[in-house]
Symmetry: C2
Subunit: 503 residues, 2 copies
């Protein structure tokens, strides 16, 4: 469910010259050398760990291997050195909570998902549960399998860093808290059950921040440092003659239109009230009430990033000839980050095959996603959508919400973000400071009260194909800009030092 927009258009690549970074990391050269040596000698075991995990797919939507998956997750945590590991029941599928007390001053939290997206083996060039090693041109040798990059590969690489600490006999410089769920791919509907458990909530609140391991270096080696993302609500608007006074309850012959009302026309009218400006601006009552405009600093960050991108290439990639209102590229990128949207994902009514069929459909559905910006909330959006439809006389139009998240923000000067930036700088990784992803991820579950934790993504290395066939995760890089498994492992080790030593 990490419906996470990561492409050049949303990626603002900036030099971090003006930003407050932590000082150079203070672990000794000997420690670093010992950790690297341990990471190298543990490399084959790490690859096998990823492959074994891929061989056990847990899919919440299909109730597949959920108990086996959560137990496996707990075992992985124990083996990596977590000293307290518990399986936590929820109203849905259970999760894992684990802690590693290293006697440090600071604590870092990490978020895992042990579930994966569904897959159809027929669509894969290599069996999706086999985790075979394949060549990926321009990147190197990669594990191919369901969950390779989303998120077992990156997560297991973080665990590999902990194994390296153990192997090298070095105590990690921060305490660790791990929270892992098995329902990320169905929208984390019961994750709140876990974070509401008092001792879990207490432990998480002690952390400086929380991150999900990720491996999204592009060919140039660049990564994003995300400071937040839009929220999203996915819903269906349903106009059904069975609910509406006039009917009809089913499809009837189209010639009757002259005497019978049409639920499909009703849906069109209802949709038309939701937007203005050609569909580009929400017109739902009160929609902008809580919208916080981007600050000038945030806009500057976006403009700086936009200056590094070829706008024509962006338009070509997207198959467009202009941005909304013919905006120049930097202003379009500001609009992308700033504006809430009402988007039509799909329309379905009546006859959808080739040619025509003379029916008056009894039902029409619009699949909608609402992108929300701070400080809108999902609850607010759902409430205002209902109120808007009611106020416009569309009480019969059903709203069926299938999922969503609040928008999320993490302060640029939070220790979590500063530690991420410092790590990338130390490693010479170019990074993009992105004020706000136009896509959405469930970061608000951490950044919202009661946890109110800085939250982000961290990691180097590369993989791709989340939710798609032939998902892969690079373990042996042939691209000098991109980390292989050992370098990615060391990236996590460096992050722990950066968190420990940030001023």
């Amino acid at each position: 469910m990490l419906s996470f927009l990561r492409h050049g258009a949303a990626c603002t690549l900036v030099l971090a010259a003006s930003l407050p970074a932590v000082p150079a990391l203070a672990q000794s050269a000997e420690e670093e050398a010992a950790l690297r040596s341990a990471a190298e000698s543990g490399r084959d075991a790490s690859i096998k760990r990823i492959q074994d995990w891929i061989a056990l797919p847990s899919i919440a939507a299909e109730d597949l291997n959920m108990q086996e998956g959560v137990e496996y997750m707990a075992t992985l945590a124990r083996e990596a050195g977590f000293d307290e590991v518990e399986i936590v029941p929820t109203s849905g599928h259970p999760g894992v909570f684990a802690t590693m007390d290293n006697g440090a001053d600071r604590t870092l939290a990490v978020y895992f998902m042990y579930d994966v997206k569904q897959f159809d083996p027929a669509e894969w060039s290599s069996p999706p549960l086999e985790g075979a090693i394949v060549e990926k041109e321009g990147f190197g040798r990669a594990i191919m399998g369901r969950g390779a990059v989303n998120q077992k590969g990156p997560e297991a690489t973080f665990l590999a860093a902990l194994h390296a600490f153990k192997e090298a006999g070095i105590t990690p410089p921060v305490n660790l808290v791990l929270i892992a769920e098995g329902e990320e791919e169905i929208g984390s509907p019961n994750f709140g059950d876990m974070t509401a458990v008092p001792h879990i909530q207490t432990a998480l609140k002690e952390a400086e921040g929380i991150f999900i391991p990720a491996s999204w270096q592009d060919r140039s080696g660049a990564v994003d440092v995300n400071l937040g993302s839009k929220g999203v609500v996915e819903l269906e608007l349903i106009s059904d003659g069975a609910n509406w006074g006039p009917g009809p309850k089913t499809d009837i012959h189209s010639s009757l239109k002259a005497a019978v009302e049409s639920p499909a026309w009703r849906l069109v009218h209802a949709l038309e009230t939701l937007v203005e400006d050609g569909g580009n601006t929400p017109a739902i009552e009160g929609w902008y009430e809580n919208v916080r405009p981007l600050t000038e600093h945030e806009k500057d960050l976006i403009r700086e990033g936009a200056a590094l991108v070829d706008p024509e290439e962006q338009k070509e990639t997207l198959g467009i000839t202009r941005w909304i209102d013919d905006l120049p590229y930097d202003e379009a990128m500001i609009r992308l980050a700033q504006e809430p949207t009402v988007n039509i994902e799909g329309l379905v009514s009546g006859y959808t095959g080739p040619g025509g069929k003379t029916i008056l459909p009894g039902r029409a559905v619009a699949k909608i996603d609402l992108r929300l910006v701070p400080n809108q909330t999902r609850e607010e959006a759902e409430r205002k959508m209902r109120a808007h439809l009611d106020a416009n006389g569309f009480e019969d139009i059903e709203i069926e919400v299938s999922g969503g998240y609040d928008p999320t923000e993490t302060a640029e000067d939070s220790l979590m973000i500063r530690a991420e930036m410092a790590t990338y700088e130390r490693l010479g990784i170019p990074y993009a400071l992105n004020p706000r992803l136009a896509g959405s991820w469930p970061g608000a579950m951490f950044t919202d009260p009661p946890l109110s934790l800085p939250a982000g993504h961290f990691g180097i290395g590369h993989g791709s194909g989340a939710h798609a066939p032939d998902e892969y995760y690079v373990v042996e890089s042939t691209n000098p800009n991109v980390a292989g498994l050992v370098d990615a492992t060391m990236g996590y080790a460096h992050l722990l030092y950066a968190v420990a030593e940030a001023e």
Copy 2:
């Protein structure tokens, strides 16, 4: 393609007391007895004729058995006594033109189709090409097969009447012209090629009128006498980013909506301009320019018919609780006949499966049917739709027309209609005089210039299931109100006398 609305709601059952009918038929009792005797002795041959014809399905859309079918049609005509029979090439599949000169003063034309709708044998309870005899409760024994009622059964029954004349040694009282096409089920795209052939056009213009044999008696034995029908244009309105300036050319990630325009929203806006009054009234410029309001007489006919129907039962059948504008039933039936419509048959865009998918679709399609009333034309409707979209700035919205017919009208006092009514009266068949079907049929190909012929449907007997599995045609009726094969055969014989003897 006879998208012909025939249900109680559109069926106005009236007594014809006030209408000018032809006098009692003048053929002698001896002639009638001889014809009936011949029809009875030819009954088994007639059944076999229908079964053999069903065994040879001609399907224009699949280019299946078209040459075989047209030759079979020509043979059927020859065997029934047509003395000049020719196969007529068209730009598509060929048709048959045949004449029978009986030395009579008047000529009657008959329209046949030799093609049938596609079928899937898996959906049938009896093999669709076998023409097996089955029991149909409430009606009797019936032939089941593709084309049984649409239109091979009724057409072969008309031919059976001509065989009966031959067998009885009686010369039919009118000259006959037969025109048969093989592309009715794909919308008769090349039928005009046939009627444009000079000697065919001349022969048709000499006829008093033209009819298609039909067998639509209901359980009470009632039939319709249709005086016309609405026209129809079926089309798709396509909003495609590949044609529209801004794009996008394909589906892109939905989070981009804040910077990229949406072809789906564009379609919604374009649709919204087409109608007013909740979708119930076309708002296309000039749409009503040529609309002829129903006359008071036509409205009276509809009111008389409406008085005989239970409005609550009609609403229940259609799954509605009220008619447009809360009209009373008779006014709703007048609106049904009077008003042109813009109906949404289907909507298709983006993701149409269960739940949601975060895309901004590159394309959106509305499947539309436009019902036209006299004196609108299909050409006018297509032209005005294009002009309307252009005038509203939707030049990029494509219109893809898949088919259509002009509206059609036949005068109530035409000899063709008077002969139909006289025949039904003589046979004691209750009939419904329907000023205008809300559905559509290609009658305009006859009633429009250059032919300008009265055109209608005639026949007794019963069948059902056109275009559906288990299509059937009753050959041995157990319902005293409904004609079996011999009575239906005699119905056509009576019609010929009624045409010959009308004043």
